[in-house]
């Protein structure tokens, strides 16, 4: 019995980790600046490629993954400085600009690197409970997702940067009048967002084939999680991921991945009809 229970938890944890890791970066950027980064998938791809490149050079996997996240964060801050910064007042245009960037990056990668790169295998290791065997790495991913949420909680609730960032999120003009350097906060937030995207790519790099268009595999999940979650990462994205993971897990188990994805999309379309501002609006209202 406990083996079956654990198996259900394992499947839930797998989907939950995927949703959180792919959506966290996007949600932070959206929550802070109201911008949806259409090149999110390309930052994920960047993280994956850097990880595989470093591992092939002989760097141990965990260190390669951290370096990949840092790289994606730095590139993100450069992109913010060169492009995204101009569009904070025009969110729709930021969507188009980052989409243009996404096209440029994906297709240039196809031109330069070619379609497939030699991957690295999933770290081995499995354990058995009852009659079932489970891959340890999938639990590592779940742990990473929980760690990301905990890390964001600490950064945004317990540090000075977090206080100023939340003030900027609530009322940028007022925060600026009180001396907060909002420009720098936006830049750092964008960097954190893209670093998390890079981390997502780094963590999933060992489990999938590396192709320049791999970002597309993640964007649907990250979009729908952010649409349902709304502007608040901790109170929105996390509950949205729990909710969507339950739907997805149930459908995946009985009908397979693609029906799971379609069902998730239908659930999202039904939910936006009822809760246009996302789950976080309900939770925040309750909290007051």
């Amino acid at each position: 019995m406990s083996a079956e229970l654990f198996s259900v938890f394992y499947q839930f944890a797998d989907v939950f980790a995927f949703l959180i890791l792919s959506a966290a970066g996007l949600a932070i950027v959206f929550g802070m600046m109201g911008v949806i980064n259409m090149a999110h998938g390309e930052f994920i791809m960047c993280g994956a490629y850097v990880t595989v490149g470093l591992v092939n050079l002989g760097v141990p996997l965990p260190i390669a993954q951290i370096l990949a996240a840092v790289t994606a964060g730095i590139i993100g801050m450069i992109v913010e400085f060169l492009i995204v910064r101009r569009f904070y007042k025009r969110p729709l245009d930021s969507l188009l600009a980052t989409w243009g960037l996404s096209l440029i990056v994906t297709q240039s990668m196809l031109l330069i690197v070619g379609s497939a790169v030699r991957g690295i295998g999933t770290p081995e290791g499995s354990f058995a409970i009852g009659g079932y065997t489970f891959s340890t790495y999938r639990l590592v991913l779940f742990g990473a997702a929980v760690a990301v949420l905990a890390g964001l909680y600490i950064i945004f609730m317990k540090t000075r940067f977090g206080v100023v960032a939340r003030a900027t999120m609530q009322n940028a003009a007022m925060a600026k009048a009180l001396g907060a350097r909002t420009g720098r906060i936006y830049s750092i937030s964008f960097g954190i967002g893209t670093a998390l995207a890079g981390l997502c790519g780094a963590l999933y790099a060992p489990t999938m084939t590396l192709i320049p268009t791999m970002g597309a595999t993640f964007v649907v999940e990250s979009f729908v999680t952010v649409v349902i979650g709304g502007a608040n990462v901790l109170l929105g994205t996390a509950p949205a991921a729990v909710f969507l993971a339950m739907i997805r897990m149930a459908l995946n188990a009985s009908y397979g991945q693609i029906i799971g994805q379609i069902g998730m999309l239908f659930a999202v379309i039904l939910i936006i009809r009822v809760l246009p501002e996302g789950l976080s609006s309900v939770l925040v209202r309750r909290g007051r």
């Binding site: 729709l92 969507l95 188009l96 994906t106 979009f223 936006i272």
Partner: protein, 357 residues
Amino acid sequence: MLKLLDGPQTLGRGKIFWSCFLAVLAGALIYPLFADSYDVGNFAYFLIWIFMALGLCLMWGYGGMLSFGQTFFFGIAGYGYGVLAINMGGGTATVAALVLSVVIAMIAAGILGYFMIWGGISGIFFGIVTLSATLVLAFFLGQTAGPEWHIGPARLNGFNGMKGMDPLTVGSFDIEGSALYYLMIALIVIVYIALRMLVNSSVGNVIVATRENPQRAEMLGYDVRKYQLLTFVIGSGLAGLSGALYTSWGQFITPSSIGLPAAAMPIVWVAFSGRNDLTATLVGSFLLLFGFQTITVYSQQAALVLMGVLLLATVMLAPQGFVLGIGKLVVDWWTRRRRRDEGPALADTGRLQSDET
């Protein structure tokens, strides 16, 4: 009725504009007499996509709804045409298949639009929900390779795409080559004129008012949601028309014409051309399609990189669109030259004011 053609929501009016319009139309009509049939077929291929661009122009430029789902409806109607044409048999039934597949796309748009618009989704989220739907459809069709995925005798065939449907046929006459070209020209003229009349009609004024300020339009007593849904259904239906014609043209459709990067293409065309005007979209989309096709012969990736660069450059340098901007410069220069002796040049007082009055 004719007055609606020259209303305030569209640029280009008066004798000069319509003379140019007729000259271009005449050029297009005699073109097949001078070109070989391969080029005519290629031209017809560019024209297929124009409907999708005009539909997006209506939704985005006039209605203020940035839909990333044009290829979603393109795919629904494209696959719809294939399934219907195979199931109903060839011959004149293909015309019914074309009409029905566009109707199916419009019904899908009605359902998706109802949930989004009545749910109060707008702006950025409108884009990413439509894009999510598009990508999920592409993923779904991509994994339908097995023989169990069929509708009647029509196999979906996964990434390899569906094939084997008949082209548009009336009686025993296949509409291909220059016949298809003339059909496209006729359809484009009809759609263009009809859209011009729509946006200049009272319905069009409400659509534009909703774009400018939904609350204010609502206060004036209009149920803006109905107008938005109407705009969305028409715009998406035009994407469906493109899809059905595409399948009929090539007797072939694959999921790659739905997913990324195909989904970004209508956005690039319309943004580059100038989303606020139908004529600019018509001209600009045609130019971009022509350029894209020329480069694709050498390298598809390079052509797509160029599209990305154009999108980025448009947003950073000319957010209203390049074709529209250049068109306005020409008109301004023209009016200024004519008015130089009569008095001071007209100030550019607003977005849609650069006509000759």
